[in-house]
């Protein structure tokens, strides 16, 4: 756990000596990334639950399970990063309210509860049915999960639906708040030229949504393949339009911000320019290249009213590219912000460790966890409509 620092970051120009020990590692890149995936997946389930977009019904419950699986692991990179993780609860017990970070456990905790409740209502009928049919240990778990309620009459189901909708309505601002909050964590740091922007929360939120939709597309296609069921074309075509719309807005806002920055040319802009051309150049190419590529690809898919294999492959590529673009964006913000020296006279270069608790392996492990958990949950609670797949029950 705690120990010596990783090697000091190399730099050019002049940086404050303490800056050569870069505070936030690649773990803090993955933290907003995972949070964002949650927000995006949740939004898709809301499109069905709240906005009545019935083409998303086949993935609505899967989106909820995806959101909660990733949400469970949001605190993990933070805990790995803390110098004294055993004291993490200090921020919960004595939150210092002027700090955005002090709200983290409350915002995240509230959101987890909300997701679990919504999942319970969305799956209650299934849980009751499984509790009645399954024997042994599994049956006991399902009976426990049913919380003693076994009424699956149409009236009761209508009430479930109303609750799920109400929770989804609360969930939209919560998901927005959760990710807007993460953007605020960065945007409010006035000491960092590259972070300190009023647009940071909205950019984080919108990029979160597009990354989450990307993730959901990839997962949906993969699960369909695994279940040997064709992916629902209406779902994919609908997600194509949704992703296109959100992506367009986020690109516009990010583009306009850069334009304003370079047009105004306030003090420090030269350093920002050197940052973009230097340490984060590959990240910027990935972020913008993938984003614009996806926008074009989606436009083609939508205009050509793509169906069948073209749609599935096109959307899968879009989903993967979207996830890469947003991961690159998180890197460009979190790492880029720290590579630009507070002196605005120098640039540092961050090299992540491979091993070690802040290394790339740790990050890969953390990022793998939600996929495993999601797989386990779907084995236990199938989110798929019986008529859509072969599996009726897990």
């Amino acid at each position: 756990m705690i120990g010596t620092m990783a090697t000091a970051a190399p730099y050019v120009g002049y940086v404050y000596p303490n800056e050569t020990d870069i505070p936030w590692s690649v773990l803090i890149v993955i933290y907003p990334y995972i949070t964002g995936l949650v927000a995006g997946a949740f939004i898709v389930s809301s499109l069905y639950h709240v906005f009545g977009m019935s083409q998303f019904k086949p993935v609505a419950r899967f989106a909820l399970l995806t959101a909660v699986s990733f949400m469970f692991f949001v605190p993990m990179p933070l805990l790995f990063h803390l110098g004294n993780p055993q004291r993490a609860f200090n921020a919960v017990l004595t939150p210092h309210w002027t700090s955005a970070m002090s709200a983290f456990s409350y915002v995240a905790g509230f959101y987890v509860c909300l997701l679990l409740l919504e999942i319970w209502f969305a799956f209650r009928a299934d849980i009751v049915a499984l509790a009645k049919t399954k024997a042994g240990f599994a049956g006991r778990i399902y009976r426990l999960l049913s919380l003693g309620s076994d009424d699956v009459s149409p009236v009761a189901l209508a009430i479930d639906h109303r609750f799920a909708t109400a929770l989804a309505i609360i969930g939209i601002p919560s998901a927005g708040g959760l990710h807007g909050y993460v953007g605020f964590l960065f945007g409010s740091v006035k000491a960092r030229e590259w972070w300190s922007s009023d647009l940071m929360p909205i950019i984080f939120l919108l990029s979160a949504i597009v990354s989450g939709i990307g993730l959901l597309v990839v997962l949906y296609v993969a699960y369909s393949k695994a279940r040997k069921v064709p992916a629902d074309e209406n779902v994919l075509a609908g997600l194509a339009k949704t992703l296109w719309a959100f992506l367009l807005v986020v690109l516009l806002i990010e583009g306009l911000e850069l334009l304003e920055m370079f047009y105004k040319r306030l003090e420090g802009i030269d350093a920002v320019q050197r940052l973009i051309e230097g340490p984060i150049r590959y990240g910027m190419v990935l972020q913008w290249g993938c984003s614009l590529g996806v926008l074009v690809l989606l436009s083609v898919l939508i205009l050509s009213k793509a169906r069948g294999r073209f749609l599935v492959v096109g959307m899968t590529v879009s989903g993967i590219a979207m996830m890469i673009a947003v991961l690159a964006m998180r890197w460009n913000v979190v790492i880029g912000g720290q590579e630009l020296s507070k002196t605005t006279k120098g640039l540092l270069t961050y090299y992540p460790e491979i091993l070690g608790h802040e290394g790339l392996l740790a990050v890969a492990f953390i990022f793998l966890c939600p996929f495993v958990v999601l797989w386990l949950i779907t084995r236990f609670l199938s989110p798929w409509e019986p008529e859509a797949g072969k599996e009726v029950s897990p």
């Binding site: 120990g3 505070p23 110098g83 004294n84 200090n90 700090s99 970070m101 002090s102 000491a191």
Partner: protein, 279 residues
């Protein structure tokens, strides 16, 4: 010093915390019960008590620091003294105070700046455990050159205190920003928030560290170590409540400036003789 942080919490914040705990108690049955039981003992005195430092009343002082860059000769005794006095990591990447060298060569519009983390200076020092500037400008056409000592600015509105999620870093009544090492979780949000790069991470303890103006010395009537050892009186320290203190006279008799005033942090380290390039 550990208990000072809880003692100096403003009353309003304690009231807020009380309300908050009440709300939590309702929902989170077990945790809530435990929390509300654990907290009243810790918080909520009506008056912030004076820390238990013999012969010292923090309500009677208002500390401030002055730097006369025209005097500094870049000998780095201050850096050495600070590292020794405060047990700061003996490497070229963790400092509570450091000195920057600004050099304008003939025809240059911008200064060349360096400090102890620079490989050339480490080589000249022999190791990262010693501190000296190299001689790189010996034969260069230097037009203007000066040294600028840097340290925590102990701001009136410290951004580092604002962002601390636990309240482990706090401002004392006498105007010093400190860290409770037994309460810091090591998130380094404060390191990000400081515009001056004054905070460093203590990897051995997993907590953030920074200049305390040698609080353990000044509360005994001594000078901070860096001020004590400066051979040219480039560093000035004192009590602004005393109009005849060195710092009061320094501010009165000079046209002083502060670093990065636009951040709104209102620093309490006052500079004389720095250039537009210094930030």
């Amino acid at each position: 010093m550990d208990h000072q942080d809880e003692e100096q919490k403003p009353k309003a914040e304690n009231a807020l915390r009380r309300n908050f705990l009440r709300a939590v108690g309702v929902g989170a049955a077990c945790a809530g019960a435990w929390v509300s039981k654990a907290l009243p003992a810790k918080s909520l005195p009506d008056e912030t008590p004076i820390p238990d430092i013999p012969g010292y009343d923090w309500r009677k002082h208002k500390w401030a620091f002055g730097v006369d860059a025209t005097r500094c000769i870049g000998c780095l005794r201050c850096v050495e003294a600070c590292k020794a006095e405060n047990g700061v990591a003996r490497d070229a990447h963790h400092f509570r105070t450091w000195v920057e060298r600004y050099v304008y060569l003939q025809g240059d519009d911008q200064a060349h700046v360096d400090s102890q983390s620079e490989p050339g200076n480490i080589a000249a020092s022999g190791s990262e455990q010693a501190f000296r500037f190299d001689n790189r400008y010996q034969n260069a056409p230097v037009e203007k050159a000066f040294f600028v000592p840097k340290l925590c600015n102990h701001c009136t509105h410290p951004a580092c205190v604002q962002v601390c999620p636990t309240g482990a870093t706090y401002q004392t009544k006498d105007g010093v920003v400190l860290i409770d090492h037994s309460y810091c979780i090591g998130c380094q949000y404060c390191v990000q928030a400081c515009p001056y790069g004054a905070r460093e991470f203590n990897h051995a303890m997993g907590v953030t560290d920074k200049c305390t103006w040698c609080y353990h010395r000044i509360t005994k009537g001594l000078q901070p170590a860096c001020v004590e050892v400066c051979p040219v009186e480039a560093r000035v320290f004192g009590d602004r409540n005393d109009p005849e203190s060195p710092i009061s006279r320094f501010i009165k008799n000079n046209r002083v400036s502060v670093l990065k005033p636009y951040t709104g942090n209102a620093p309490n380290v006052f500079y004389v003789g720095i250039d537009k390039e210094v930030s």
